[in-house]
Symmetry: C2
Subunit: 329 residues, 2 copies
């Protein structure tokens, strides 16, 4: 299977392009007319580093590669636009598997209104995907950065956390599943394998005046640290308020881990953490709740003058999630 042949087959599967795309895949470059402002991010996943091929279906790998990239657009409050994908194909991976992978990616693209507008296929020692995504907003001011959180703001978190870390534990140690109802165990695995970027919630939070936002990909503790550093403020998180995904308590119990520590350090939940003016909480929660599947928005703490992150446990002690020490204040 040559590069040209695979590219041609991949192109045949592409749905019609979005309205901003004048010329899609197949020329030297794609042509778009963005209007307004763009948010652009790139993310890569590599077999053996970010996922393990034997633990996931090919379609899930394609899905996750695009999802992790789109999550960065969600964190800006941008509308998904175009994606450009580099697929690194190891020897032994056949055409059918490449197409399954692409189908998983395209299904998420269709659900999120993303146009796959270009790409490159190359041989590589391990299956790898590098995905560049371009999102859109009416103006640069409408996009929400990590900097901007102000003392007095509330911290809000979409959805539930800990699920992706619990799912990873289940994939790596299948025997743990006996501690959970099968349906919940499967939901946790899917949180790890097929995360959904919070694009709609990100746009709603931007519309509701979010002052700073980040997606929880490296873990709540680490990403709160990024937001605190960029904003030059201290984030104070009340651990008792953290919305844990169903099954995280049972799984933490089965592994002897602290469920709050698991949730705050696990990462890959791809939920959004935002700082919003306190008076916007009610309207923001209502607007997020109206989204597909009734997404929740939970107040988890506040912004204060200072630096760094404090995650306070119910008894008053501080939680120190793993990986916390590598953060610069």
């Amino acid at each position: 299977m040559g590069e040209f042949e695979l590219l041609a087959k991949l192109r045949e599967r592409l749905p019609p392009a979005g309205s901003k795309v004048v010329l899609g895949s197949g020329d030297d470059a794609a042509i778009t007319v963005p209007g307004g402002a763009t948010a652009t991010s790139v993310d890569a996943i590599v077999d053996g580093v970010h996922f393990h091929r034997e633990q996931a279906e090919m379609a899930q790998i394609g899905h996750k590669a695009l999802a992790t990239a789109l999550s960065d657009l969600a964190a800006m409050g941008a509308e998904a636009g175009e994606a450009y994908v580099v697929l690194g194909v190891p020897s032994g991976l056949g055409e059918a598997q490449c197409l399954e992978l692409l189908d998983g990616l395209l299904e998420l693209a269709a659900r999120t209104g993303t146009t796959l507008a270009g790409g490159d296929v190359t041989r590589a020692p391990a299956l790898s995907l590098a995905v560049t995504v371009v999102g859109h907003a009416p103006s640069a001011e409408r996009l929400v950065r990590r900097a901007g959180a102000q003392p007095g703001d509330l911290l809000v978190l979409t959805g539930e956390i800990g699920g992706a870390a619990a799912g990873l534990a289940l994939l790596e140690e299948p025997g743990l599943a006996s501690a959970l109802p099968a349906e919940i165990a499967q939901r946790l695995r899917l949180r790890q394998l097929q995360p959904m970027p919070r694009l709609a919630a990100g746009r709603v939070l931007a519309d509701q005046g979010a002052r700073a936002m980040i997606d929880i990909s490296d873990g709540l503790g680490a990403d709160a640290g990024h937001l605190a550093a960029a904003s030059g403020a201290q984030l104070r998180i009340d651990a008792a308020t953290l919305p844990l995904a169903e099954g995280v308590l049972a799984l933490a119990d089965a592994t002897g881990r602290d469920p709050l520590e698991l949730a705050a350090s696990g990462g890959e939940d791809y939920e959004l953490l935002a700082a919003i003016p306190a008076e916007r909480l009610e309207a923001a929660a209502a607007a997020v709740g109206e989204l597909e599947k009734g997404t929740t928005l939970t107040p988890v703490g506040g912004v204060a003058a200072g630096a760094g992150v404090e995650i306070r446990l119910p008894g008053g002690a501080l939680l120190k999630p793993a990986g916390f020490d590598q953060l610069r204040p």
Copy 2:
């Protein structure tokens, strides 16, 4: 060396961002205000596939990764804008080497007015770079596609070809260098290791009314085939007119290869092949000749009704470059 630490060091080296970049590297996504139209392309290079680490300096690898991506923007007649880079780092590659690689990439970025606006660093089994580049034009109509060549148009080629293939031969078989003056051998190696994207020439050709354009990355024969297929026309190339890089004749002689075959199939020259209205030749050649280092523009054939590519040798026979058969007409 952690990912965060390396990213922070890489960011410290970034020069000020271009005028369209509102927010550069360091947030969830970069923010730009493009105006007009954008051309976006992505290219990846992998150690052992597209280059061999032991044959190149780290700075050259960084240069080439960006150069091959920018060449696609040149082929659209776009102005270079932003680049987003995924760096896959194998174990054993140290921080100093990563920074050397980035310096090579940034030097070309500075020369071409490209802003490195984002990126991702990941562990990977082999050194690899995936580079997404975004170029700009006042409108979508000003960008030149592969489709659009019309019967009667002239085919023109920037610069000289065969140099990159000759350079590759010298890198793979160092003993061949004895067939050439040292200075010319070194120039040929640099054609392979440090290609220069023809951005200025691409913009001039677009301004001069080029109807279709492509960069010669897969070899003149293969890329002429792509342009012919997209345009629904036949490209007729007169082999005797092909501008061979200095030293290609001597190197072909030393290896027993046909120099025209080497030049037409070798690839990686990153010159531009364009179809222009015949009456624009003089003005286009003059305008290209005014660019830095007096770039040449050579008429190499014409466009006819039909399909496919004919490369005719001085005696009248047809040249069939390697890799030609895999082209769909």
